[in-house]
């Protein structure tokens, strides 16, 4: 949704299936604290939450950087936490806060628990391609960052 019916009311897009609840409450809290919505990108998503891809801060990024991939959901690489790009992970093209904020009060997120990102905060994600045959995704050479160390489950 690009604009609301009423210009006077600010519109913020917080996509996700479902949206991360900390994104929703954080956006509202920002508005209550500062009287304005947080800085938004060109499709009205708060940059603080949707400014990076989930690949950028994924716990498996070092394996991606060193081309260590899991070829199956339970092979030796999977058990060592190797990158899930070859199993359909859409993290490189999905903007969301899942790998930094995580889910359920910092407990985990899909890739940490072994399944690739399905891209649920991107427009039209259900129809982009089959989940496990993601021929369209190419590794993004700019998507490299130092990931935070995986935190113990809290």
């Amino acid at each position: 949704m690009k604009q609301g019916l009423f210009a006077a009311k600010p519109l913020v897009n917080a996509p996700g299936c479902p949206p991360n609840p900390e994104v929703l409450t954080g956006t509202i809290a920002h508005y209550l604290a500062f009287g304005a919505v947080p800085e938004l990108d060109d499709v009205l998503r708060p940059k603080v939450y949707y400014g990076r891809t989930v690949h950028d801060c994924c716990s498996r990024i070092e394996h991606f950087n060193n081309e260590r991939f899991a070829f199956s959901f339970d092979d030796e690489g999977a058990r060592l936490g190797y990158c899930l790009a070859l199993l359909g992970c859409r993290g490189m093209t999905t903007r969301n806060a899942c790998s930094s904020l995580k889910w359920n009060q910092g407990t985990s997120y899909p890739m940490y628990s072994g399944h690739g990102c399905i891209g649920c905060s991107e427009p039209g994600f259900w129809d982009k391609s089959d989940l496990y045959r993601d021929e369209g995704a190419m590794p993004d050479p700019n998507g490299i960052c130092v990931a935070p160390p995986p935190s113990p489950i809290s």
């Binding site: 479902p18 959901f73 339970d74 092979d75 058990r79 009060q105 940490y112 628990s113 045959r133 113990p152």
Partner: protein
């Protein structure tokens, strides 16, 4: 004589309308439940990769998340004859079990309790007396005067500012509320505690599946490879310890708060042990294999059917038998190629909408014509109740000792006969009884998983048939699951590696479906018949019984306009 309409029914999942016809004494002579919403999940599935189906179908509902996900992967595994590793079966049990525990506690407090607990009355309670009550009722440590006074003060602040918030629009002060003020305060306090607590049980899904709602599944097992080095993936030794702690805390909450409150409140509403169940037919597909999904004899919840309240005669159920599970559309907004009167087994199922209802605002639906987006599922032609009452009755009837003991204990404490189970109160008690039974069983599965891992078996996924090149040209299968609200199954037909047909028959469809042209009512309609409303303007009695079924309408209706045409416009003002 008049018609009471409750639309929307709130404190449920989804969109439900009840029309109840009353006689001169305010007693319901006929009730009709109507599903007022559709979507399109089954149609969307056609042509897709079967391995993707779990992700789509899980979005049928975020309240009973995991239920459709597991049913879906089971359907594909059944079709392709894939056997999953034992650890994957155990993890699915733990995830489904955690789902039940969260769901039943949340249902009791946040969806059902307000029908029995007068929130405003809690304001006149004595917090000290409430604390003394809690100390008698259970060992739950939050039992001080200050604890209850704090809730009371919070409530008072809401009421005094005129903003009742989540407690708005209740029938507070209705004479059918029977609880003393102290029990009302106790229950409202636990409502708040449960809201905080339920986040923790959900972490079982987050650990094994990445997040709640909508954790990850996969055809062939579970995708959560167990970490051979601590901290590398989500399921490592620390996380498994955490799962054990969460299970222990959940058991304490269920025993010391939920069941304790359930019994305390039930004592005051024993008149609800004689009404609210009108069919006498009960169905369960069974679940929680230990540990082979194809071996019914290992299921913790047995599969079976009861007709006419005949507990001693639990009948066998076969999901592949085309004469057993069928869907009728006599009074539903759908059409069948073979005509309106056809009864289709889901392998031959069709979900083709044909809306013939009102085009704009309306007062009443035409109950002699089509009036619901729900189909009418039938078992051997019979309407069947599914859910906690069905499961507990089947377990009781088959001689499950733990369940018999718990049921007898509850009936003895409440001084009620066995027949009391066939009622709104019975259904509500059954929900608690099965929740406790499951919570007590979770450690058994958990210890088995840890034992397997300690013995060097950490396998959670079988890769051998994951690729479509290993599949036959044609296959069909059924994936079942007992969800918190009842019997669920997905039937799939796979042609050349893509989904040819996909039909989901879900618990609330069994319970809330419209009557059929053989004159047979569904469970909701039969349950409401005979209820006398104290005040038709405040139909609390209807809510008490409907809520006892724990409606999940998002699951019950599953179709939208296949051309993608808009059926609803929402204007935000």
């Amino acid at each position: 004589m008049g018609i009471v309409v409750v639309d929307p029914v709130t404190r449920i999942e989804g969109h439900l309308r009840i029309e109840a016809e009353l006689d001169a004494t305010g007693t319901i002579t006929r009730a009709s439940s109507c599903g007022t919403m559709v979507r399109g999940i089954e149609k969307i599935m056609q042509g897709r990769d079967p391995r993707d189906a779990w992700a789509f179908t899980q979005r049928i509902c975020g309240v009973c998340t995991t239920s459709h996900g597991i049913a879906s992967v089971r359907a594909v595994e059944d079709a392709l004859k894939i056997a999953i590793p034992e650890n994957a079966e155990i993890i699915r049990n733990l995830m489904n079990g955690a789902q039940y525990i969260q769901d039943h506690v949340v249902h009791f407090y946040h969806l059902h309790a307000m029908d029995w607990v007068d929130v405003v009355s809690a304001l006149s309670a004595d917090p000290g007396e409430t604390a003394r009550l809690q100390q008698c009722m259970s060992p739950w440590p939050n039992n001080t005067t200050d604890h209850f006074a704090a809730t009371q003060q919070k409530l008072r602040t809401f009421v005094e500012t005129g903003q009742l918030g989540i407690f708005n629009n209740g029938y507070w002060g209705h004479p059918e509320y029977k609880l003393p003020a102290e029990i009302n305060l106790l229950a409202v306090t636990h409502y708040m505690e449960a809201l905080a607590w339920q986040r923790d049980i959900a972490k079982v899904h987050a650990i094994f599946g990445g997040k709640n709602p909508h954790p990850s599944f996969v055809v062939g097992g579970m995708p959560c490879a167990i970490s051979t080095q601590d901290g590398v993936t989500a399921v490592n030794a620390l996380a498994l310890d955490r799962v054990g702690e969460i299970i222990a805390q959940a058991r304490a909450f269920v025993d010391q708060v939920y069941i304790s409150d359930l019994l305390a409140i039930a004592r005051f509403y024993k008149d609800w042990a004689t009404k609210g169940e009108g069919l006498g037919n009960f169905l369960s597909f069974g679940d929680f294999p230990q540990y082979d999904v194809n071996d019914e004899s290992t299921f913790f919840f047995p599969r079976g059917a009861i007709l006419d309240r005949d507990l001693g005669n639990v009948l066998p159920v076969d999901l592949n038998d085309t004469a057993q599970v069928q869907e009728l559309i006599s009074h539903s907004w759908y059409e069948y190629t073979a005509g309106k009167n056809a009864a289709l087994h889901p392998y031959q199922g069709e979900t083709t909408p044909r809306y013939s209802g009102p085009s704009n605002t309306y007062t009443n639906l035409d109950l002699d014509a089509e009036y619901s987006w729900l189909k009418s599922p039938r078992w051997r032609g019979y309407p069947m109740e599914v859910g906690p009452l069905a499961r507990v009755l089947i377990m009781f009837g088959q001689g499950n000792e733990v369940v018999q003991e718990t049921v007898n204990k509850v009936l003895a404490e409440l001084k009620l006969p066995l027949g009391a189970l066939f009622s709104t109160l019975g259904r509500t008690a059954a929900r608690g009884i099965e929740c406790k039974a499951l919570a007590d069983q979770m450690p058994v599965w958990y210890e088995r998983l840890r034992g397997n891992i300690a013995d060097g078996n950490g396998t959670v996924f079988d890769d051998s048939q994951f690729r479509p090149s290993t599949w036959p040209a044609q296959a069909q299968g059924v994936g079942f699951l007992e969800a918190p609200r009842g019997a669920l199954a997905h039937w799939i037909v796979i042609n050349s590696g893509r989904i040819g047909n996909y039909q989901a028959v879900v618990p609330t469809t069994w319970n809330a479906g419209p009557r059929d042209d053989n004159g047979l009512e569904g469970p909701y309609d039969a349950a409401l018949r005979g209820h006398t409303l104290h005040d038709p303007q405040q139909p609390l009695e209807i809510l008490r019984t409907i809520h006892s079924f724990d409606p999940c309408m998002g699951c019950a209706v599953h179709l939208a306009d296949p051309e993608g045409g808009s059926l609803l416009t929402v204007q935000i003002q």
